[in-house]
């Protein structure tokens, strides 16, 4: 018998339908805590030289400058001063140098490139497939699937109109499907926590939303009756998708006690429309933590800044709006040279990351802490510098003890671009995906120039998985 229920079971196979399939929201049968991933990226490049450990031996320094592979234990070294906020997390930390990403550089702005490993541009048609964060979200499903937060740019070639709104983000759900990101802690709070809204207006809005979906689901289900053959899919599939959104809402409602417990209790300044960039980042970090702790999602992507983000609230530059593009071109801001401004920003980023990691370490879970099951990646959206060429793509990774890559506690320098054993961003993401259950042979586009040099760039980085 091919009734609607049976049909829906069979027809919910598309990637996007999967994202809304009701069964995907169920907690793992095993009862094991989920794995969580936090992707944090920044604009204007990240100088590899800034990540070099100051206490490296002369031999390792020489290797570093020649881009020759080596690794050292972080516990035996001091971190660069601007990373000092992470001193306590050295055993969970990786500084990864030597990846390249020439296949995903498009100059100043890179759109979804750094997460998708292809050249994304302003055209949605350039998005080739789901970005890696969405792939991870598929492996570890949750009611909200994936949450993206961003300090949007308002200038440059990638500007958004409303930095406090919900706008196209830097992740992609699938081919030609840019994701939408929350631009301010306020709008993120309103949307993500609307099921437990305490404000009367928000409660009414949520009720109306429920009403509309209920009506639409019934309406479309009605259309599916009396249809036969392939025609049933065309409306039944849609009706089921609406049902799946309702199911997601129901799940969130069922979790309302937990969610309510984790609603960020932020100072009013974080809910202002004219909050500084620094406060926006802190506010986003709070929202990020709340959604993870409440179990609403297992994957969050945060854009700390992009080249066109007007920076405000920087320590000692409180009265300035710093233009990152100018900083990229070496222009000073206030009394600080461009390099000093860069360092100030990185220092703040580390403080945000420390806040996230420390909080997760304080939340008990499964005999350990939430951080044990969390991996956080911090990286530039366009490689090594302002006008990036993608030969280097440094990463800072913080991963709890249950992570499946053996990179924690190390400074790792991989062979330089074009050298034997060189690895790309695609290899790196393939390693993460393979480690956590996606057997994809290779994630991302290949670098044609490396291919011409005969360098095999397909697959995972084996030494990270052993």
């Amino acid at each position: 018998m091919r009734n609607r229920r049976n049909f829906l079971k069979q027809s919910l196979f598309g990637a996007s339908a999967m994202t809304l399939a009701p069964h995907m929201f169920a907690n793992p049968i095993t009862g094991n805590p989920p794995r969580r991933f936090i992707f944090i990226h920044k604009g204007n490049g990240l100088f590899p030289s800034a990540l070099v450990l100051p206490t490296l031996s002369e031999g390792d320094k020489a290797k570093e400058s020649r881009k020759e592979p080596f690794e050292v234990a972080l516990k035996s070294h001091s971190l660069p001063e601007w990373m000092s906020a992470l001193n306590e997390h050295k055993e969970s930390m990786t500084i990864l140098q030597g990846l390249s990403g020439k296949m995903c550089t498009t100059g100043h702005h890179t759109w979804q490139s750094s997460l998708g490993v292809y050249k994304a541009t302003e055209r949605p048609s350039s998005i080739k497939w789901a970005t890696v964060d969405f792939e991870m979200a598929k492996l570890f499903p949750s009611p909200m699937e994936h949450i993206e937060l961003a300090c949007f740019p308002t200038g440059g070639g990638n500007a958004r109109g409303n930095i406090n709104g919900i706008e196209k983000g830097f992740s992609a759900r699938g081919p030609q499907q840019p994701n939408y990101a929350f631009g301010s802690p306020k709008v993120a709070m309103q949307e993500l926590f609307k099921s437990v809204a305490s404000n009367k207006n928000d409660q009414i809005k949520y009720e109306l939303h429920r009403k509309v979906l209920e009506f639409a689901a019934q309406n479309q289900s009605g259309l599916a009756q009396n249809l036969g053959g392939v025609e049933i899919a065309k409306v039944a599939n849609y009706a089921s998708s609406i049902d799946a959104v309702r199911e997601r809402d129901r799940k969130l409602e069922a979790m309302s006690d937990v969610i309510r417990k984790h609603v960020p209790k932020l100072d009013a300044k974080y809910f202002a429309d004219d909050l500084t960039t620094i406060d926006r980042q802190i506010g986003h970090a709070e929202v990020l933590l709340a959604t993870l702790m409440a179990g609403m999602t297992n994957v969050v992507t945060l854009t700390l800044d992009e080249l066109g983000t007007p920076y405000t609230g920087i320590t000692d530059l409180e009265d300035e709006t710093v233009n990152l593009h100018d900083v990229g071109h070496g222009k000073p801001a206030g009394k600080f040279a461009a390099l000093e401004v860069r360092e100030k920003l990185r220092r703040h980023h580390m403080a945000v990351i420390n806040k996230i990691v420390s909080k997760l370490k304080s939340v008990p879970e499964g005999g350990g802490t939430m951080f044990d099951n969390t991996t956080l990646l911090y990286f530039p959206d366009n490689g090594e510098t302002h006008h990036s060429n993608g030969v280097e793509w440094p990463f800072i990774v913080l991963a709890g003890k249950n992570n499946k890559l053996n990179t924690a506690g190390k400074y790792i320098r991989l062979p330089g671009y074009g050298k034997e054993g060189h690895k790309t961003l695609g290899n790196w993401y393939t390693s993460i995906l393979n480690a956590y259950g996606n057997p994809i042979p290779h994630y991302g586009d290949l670098d044609l120039a490396l291919a011409a040099d005969g360098i095999n760039q397909s697959g995972s980085i084996k030494q990270f998985l052993s």
Binding site: E122, P178, L208, V235
Partner: protein, 831 residues
Amino acid sequence: MFILTRFIFSLICFCTILFGAHSQSIIAAPGVTLSEVATVPANVKAVLDSNCISCHGEKKQKGKLRLDTLSALSGDARLELLGRAQEQVLFQEMPPEDEKQPGSAERKLLYDWLRSEVLRLGGSDLEDKLRYPDYGNNVDHEKLFSGQIKDKAFSPSRRWLVRPQIFEERTLDIFTVPPREMIGLRKQGFYGVTNPFILPDKAGVRDYDNTALDGGHLLLLLNNAEWISNKQLLPARIKKGEVKADQFENPKDKWNPKVIPAAFEKIVLNAAKPTDAEINDAIQAQFDCVLQRKADDKELAKYLKLTRSAIDLGGNTEGLRQMMVTVLLESEFMYRQEFGDGKPDASGRQMLTPREASYAISYALGDRRPDAKLVQAAQSGHLSTKEDYRREVLRLLDDKSYFEDKLDKSLDGGKENISIVTSHPRINRFFRDFFGYPNALKVFKDINRSDGYYGNPGRGTSGTPGKLVVEADMLVDTAIKQDKHVFENLLGTEKFFASPVENAVAKMTSLNEVYEHFKDAKWQTPPKDKKKPPSTLSAEDIAFIRKRLNYNSTERDLDIAMTHIEHFKKLGMNPNPVWAYPFGIHKLMPHVSSYNLSPPNWEYPKEQPFKIDNRKGILTHPAWLIAHSANTATDPVRRGRWVREKLLAGRVPDVPITVDAKIPDDPHKTLRERLEMVTLKEECWKCHQHMNPLGLAFEMFDDFGRYRTAESLEHPDNVIEKTKAKYGADTYKTAPVNAKGYLDGTGDPKLDGEVKDSIDMIDRLAKSKRVRQSIIRYAFRFFMGRNEILSDSQTLIDADNAYVQSEGSFNAVIVSLLTSDSFMYRKPASL
């Protein structure tokens, strides 16, 4: 009764010859799990015994396949095998041609059993797959055009998901916008609306009726509905004073509709709760805006209840808006509806309703809703006969403005504005889809290998492939406009566009005049003054150059122009009219290198299109060649497959899942030789024979689309000279190109046979009846949104005749298809 095991063994053997490549993987060891077996009806066993077992039994194992038991086969392998066997039987690929063939009843019996087994094991329904574009050629070509099929043609009653362009138009139609403003909106789109629909990239017809709305679409539709409904109410909210007209939440999103339905405004402005009549008016208004029809009584009652309760909860404005969102989520907004109505005829067919017909015709010829005359025809009962359809189709084909639009807005970006504008973009789109040349934009190239002339698409530019695609679009547009021997022209033209500019001859004349006027004068600006040259020209001279160069030209422009002109004069050429101001000669259309023209030293033709040596038709156009190439090499297999499937209505079986096709590295061999090293093996040749001999004829072109007689053996061992240029190419040893091929499958012995290269092959293809009919089959799919079935035979024959009798008019094909029974009649799918 037999047990299944035995017969699965037979069936695996049955298709081993074709899938020998992975035969090793399905050899099983002894040991049957009885719970996995099922009985085989005696009549099915009899068919297998008489047709299969002799070659694939216990005594003989063709293809080295032996299967005593099933236990060593995974469930997936077993299922895959049965599925493939099902295909073999359906497409009559087994038993081999030179063996005794089962009768049609026997074949049907075996097929039905295989199908039931595949479905029982959880496999996909082959008949379902047959609705997809890749399976279009499975219907027997000879039968389709034999004239023996007398079944009445129809299309199934259906919903057909709107294509991206129709979605854009439907969204624009929600608002009442003056025509001038509409032009701008069409170009920019709405800030808050994301098109949820995409079409596949593959060459061939892409807009089929078998796609269903899913969760991914819904997420975007919810966002879109929020934005649209907020905009729909904004003028009323401004009037009420809730929002200021000059204040924008989002400074990048300042567009507001000027006019909204009065029914909306009334409810927003009213302090009291609206009456039922007022709510009904608003519902009707939203139905009209979104679904372009009135709500019926049942719908009105449902929506009234919803709106009333939403208003009670959220107030007038928010309650009203929720109703508007809900209408925007109606699946009817995203689907075209074609069900037919009236008394079914003897074949159970019903004609499209006049309203459905008006949309079907309008969406066949364009992306916009029916124009006023078509609506009038539908409403006045003048859209119910073949003649009515013909009249309206001819009228709309003749109307050069209603559907006029840019062909491909995605080619424009940044400062580029290169897409052509055409009267019926949808007709051009058929040839774009069919040939697949726009896919050149998706193939990234290593710039250095091109010696630096090639630019990949990037931010604000569609790069070299964008320009080549536009020039291919121009070729297609020219053929469509001429509308004589369209297929033959597209396949066989020797004339191409390369950076065409308007008034080229006049521009060349102007530059020559400037040269003659100043050649003996001192026009050079000293380097130190280049940035700001002193005023040295007389007022007359300034007037002279401003008339011929730019309205504001100065001494500096004269310097640049004369440098440019002199370059060509020294070569004995006319100055190139594409004067890349202010960059000078070295930025002159680098993309024309793909045609083997050598900027800046090439003589610009006085007329475009113009003859380019060593090329013939769109299959030798760089855009097509790049679209059908790999990142760093040509792709003879893909090119051959395209010819087999698109021009010869042929079919190439899917790549067996166990095949990991890889061309071996050998620094001393050409790609052709390396390809042959792997594909000439018997098990590979079964499929590759259908592709390689066709595709290798294109080896006379490299993967950038350049004609060549020698192939660079791009391997580190073969480097003769390393480039010193940042984006230069290394020089490698070369080997002569062998572009010989073999054409088969035209059904015409005068055309089939060895070809010396692709030009020879194209000459023959352009003369082939089979090729003409194959293109007609694709045109059918494009306009019907589905694969043809045998009952469409008369429709195809009529379209083919229309083409022949009109001396190759594609418009005649369109008229024939859109007045066919396949287009006009619907038949419900069985429940």
